[in-house]
């Protein structure tokens, strides 16, 4: 059925595998930044949180906790942000396009715990 299609698919899968091997860090994120239309409005250090926090940005209610962030409520039409679930690792994000609100995670903590 297919012809040079094989080559195309093989190249793409290879590219994906290469990208996967480069970006092996699926580590838990330390910092959570909240952006509103491209501007950072709040940064959280997740490892320093003693209690869960709730922040509302542009009618989007975000829950920030030690082991991740999620959107609880939003007045947007498609609720993609809410359906994104809980994010906890470096590079993950929740984006509510209609309200311009982005929750992104960065800064990996390599350690499982810190002794001090």
């Amino acid at each position: 059925m297919k012809r040079k299609d094989f080559v195309i698919i093989a190249v793409l899968i290879l590219a994906a595998l290469v990208l996967l091997s480069i970006n092996k860090t699926r580590k838990e994120a330390v910092f959570c930044e909240i952006l509103e239309y491209g501007e950072i409005v709040r940064t959280y250090d997740l490892s320093a949180l003693s209690d869960d926090e709730i922040i509302v940005v542009n009618d989007v209610e975000i829950l920030i906790s030690r082991n991740g962030c999620q959107v609880n409520q939003s007045d947007c039409p498609d609720k993609i942000c809410i359906n994104s679930g809980k994010i906890s690792r470096v590079g993950e994000f929740i984006y509510c396009a209609p309200n311009g609100v982005l929750v992104r995670l960065s800064g990996e903590s390599e350690a499982d715990a810190v002794a001090y």
Partner: protein, 326 residues
Amino acid sequence: MKKFKTALIIILAIALVIAIILLFGGRKKEQVVINGYAMGSVTTFKYFEDKAFDLSAANELENLISNKIDNSEISKLNENLTAELSDITKEILEYSLKVAKKSDGAFDITLGKLTDIWESSALENIVPSENILKSLLKDTGYKKLKIKKNTATIEDGMKIDLGAVGKGAACDVIINAARENGIKSGIVTVGGSVGAFGKNPNNNKGWTIGIRNPDMEIDDQTLMNILIKDGFVSTSGNYEKYYEIDGVKYHHILDPDTGFPSDAGLKQVTVICDNGGLSDALSTACFVLGYEKSKELLDYYDAGGIFVTESDKIFIIGEGFEVLDK
């Protein structure tokens, strides 16, 4: 030609499946984190099973051994000079006494009154005088704490203080309680003491423990990361708790001989071993002893140590852990 095509399709399908598996392989195992407060410190326990658990074991221990809690067994001991001990309190006192003996008295849990005098003097911005310290020191000494069966006795004027061992001991009880609850792996922190057990689902090689840089001014807060399998890590340093009197910092780890903050040339000691309370006691003992004299002590307990001197030199001894490249 058809066979070739079929073979090709199969190969690509397999490659696709592998890619998908890798994609999901990164998925971190669902973890449960419970936070609380025990031994005067933020306490956290992280584990990876769908089982209910809480940190009450640590609070129960605190109610037994804290000398800041009126009805604790230690408080009763300090008040009445004798007290009945539960098994866990007895166990903690016993290994504390053993560390005291093995460290030639460098580790001493009988310095409660001296800790108190430093605290009250600091509030008045005064350094305790040598005379006061000398007179208080007369009533200290680990040898004066006697334990027979489940009864402990001390001499008049003495005050037991398990602050140097409490956090590590709390790690022990939490992990024991977790095990009893059928939890197979997890990592607990009580203040700066860490305990880990079981297989880390996010890393086959073990648990990565970051050690805080004793230099608090620096941006990069990590001195180094170490890798352990099952074990406990405790740190003693001159930066954790100190009194500032007349602009000078006096840290809280007292030399049992002088009553003054110990001065063995170290900023920080980290001890890695297979028991929480022990790692806590040993880190204090080593801090007082200094690097050279600690070697034998750690060797006896099969414990590992990381020493940071005043001049920022780092010494690493012992096995049972791996230092990770930064």
